[in-house]
């Protein structure tokens, strides 16, 4: 687990709100090794989600360098970054963010529309992804016909289906009860341990963080502590 999946070097992020400039991250430097499962914790406004967005290539740093899987993503332009995300990152959100008009399998297939896979191959990959998250029997159901936990499983299947190197999860259990949350976290643990996925997860929940291999604490945009 020594090779770095994520390298963060002197990263700052400044938001401009009108004439006001707000520095959210202050020169962060750290690595996340390949195959790691990291929980990012900290109070609201500490910069957790901002950092996650930078690692996932949803936003660009104001300064500093970010490498993910050997790619300097801070240098990529918008179109290149979109391609990179499609090939390398899976996203899981707090509120699942599934397409309500599509079935579970339709939602999982969505990222594959960006690939050159045939329809048959796409269907096969979707079936595998839904099987991994234990939802094969709900493939034809729309999100409103699923429970919160099942929706999040579909979201995880969608994140997995294009076989990304890294999963970024923003409060994946924030909208779930304890039992369901533990099931989802257990699933993420399996993906990390058995499928070798590198996972970066933002959470407020210390119990959720216990499922990770280690925890990074952020406070006011600075890394204050690394717990194993």
């Amino acid at each position: 687990m020594s090779e770095s999946m994520v390298q963060i070097r002197n990263v700052t992020k400044v938001y401009e709100r009108g004439k006001q400039k707000i520095e959210v991250l202050h020169g962060l430097t750290f690595d996340i090794p390949k195959g790691d499962f990291v929980a990012l914790m900290g109070p609201s406004g500490s910069g957790k989600t901002t950092l996650l967005n930078l690692i996932g290539g949803l936003d660009q740093p104001s300064s500093g360098e970010i490498s993910v899987g050997g790619n300097r993503i801070d240098r990529l332009k918008s179109g290149e970054l979109a391609k990179w995300r499609a090939n390398n990152v899976g996203f899981v959100f707090q509120f699942y963010n599934l397409m309500p008009v599509l079935t579970a399998e339709g939602n999982v297939e969505l990222p594959l529309l960006l690939t050159k896979l045939s329809a048959a191959q796409r269907r096969k990959n979707v079936a595998v992804a839904l099987n991994v998250v234990g939802l094969s029997d709900r493939a034809k159901h729309k999100p409103k016909e699923l429970s919160g936990g099942q929706e999040q499983r579909v979201a995880i299947a969608r994140a997995l289906v294009s076989d990304p190197q890294i999963l970024v999860c923003d409060e994946p259990t924030g909208d779930l009860d304890r039992k369901t949350a533990d099931e989802i976290l257990g699933l993420l643990q399996v993906l990390n341990r058995e499928h070798g996925k590198t996972i970066v997860m933002v959470t407020h929940d210390p119990k959720a963080a216990e499922f990770a291999r280690r925890t990074l604490h952020l406070e006011k945009g600075t890394l204050v502590e690394q717990a194993a």
Binding site: L58, F93, L102
Partner: protein
Amino acid sequence: MTKTGFVIANLFRKKTRTSLTLLSVIMAFLLFGLLQSVNHIFDAGPNFLGATRLMTQARVSFTSPLPISMVPKLEAVPGVTRVAWSQWFGGIWQENQQLFAFAVDPKRHHDVYPEWVMPEDQWQAFAGTRTAMIAGKLVADKYGWKVGQKIPISSNIFPQKNGSKAWAFDLVGIFDGRDEDWKKRALNVYINYDYFNEENQFGKDRTNFFILKLADSKQAQQIAQQVDAMFENSPDETKTQTEKDFNLSFVKQIGDIGLIVRWILFAVFFTLLLVVGNTMAQSVRERIPELAVLKTLGFSDASVLGFVLAEAAAMCAIGGLIGLGIATLFGALIEKGSGGQFQLNVGGYVWAIGLATIVFMSIAVGLLPALRARRLKIVDALAGR
């Protein structure tokens, strides 16, 4: 699932809203199809193809009567086998029922219009009775007229010599069309021209138009040109055209039909732009987080723009094609129902303009929401900012 399937699924996410919007697009294109075909008829140049009769009127307007003395000259034109004439009477039945009443020479009219079928003794009665009148079966049935009745008709143009506009005629015959098409046209009333000519207070021996029966329809255009050339630079210059063009010229008296149609269509499509544009804008506004998720998954800005534009195009194309299809069907039904009088042919020309309008509409209603979707910043959209 395909990208097309995804676009269609999104289009019908709010079924009621989409159905109502589609309905407005369908109605707009239905109107477009029918009105554009009307416009096309009026914009079309003269067509002499297959014409077996020509109508000659004063060049200025058919309201300026021509002298009956022109008949021998017209009959002398090679290819003209018979000449009849017809004078608008302006007949009113009872309170305010407008009749299509014309003063005609009975024998000549019978010769020129073999499509009107009536027992021969009634034709003879029409020719031999000074105050005679014959009526189309449809109008006779409508007002319950029977042969032998005295029919009081007033004219809104011509008073009699005694100053009264109340005329009375003896109904001596009821004619019908030779075939289904002509049966539907049996709405006219004909009175004996001689009686009208003697009794009316205004102008003698003049008529609104002449009807020239031709020996060969292929000569129609040449004869029309020859007739008009014959009276050029005379006090009674003429305009000779086919029956179809002549009928259209009646409607043109209302005004510039093309302009009226264009203004109606402009109003319809302007309203449609607002309706569909608003629907698309609202639809995109409601889906900002979903569009942000698409970008998160790796869809490019251009792809997201394409999805929104494709939705607008699908909406306009589905509605437009259904509307044009119904217009084509209606046009055919109207044409059939009117016995060919109203040739609302929603043909290739109207379809071509319709398809171009669909493309224009799609861009006009989809571009702004699509650009908004394209400019969307993922982080802000996911955070609800």
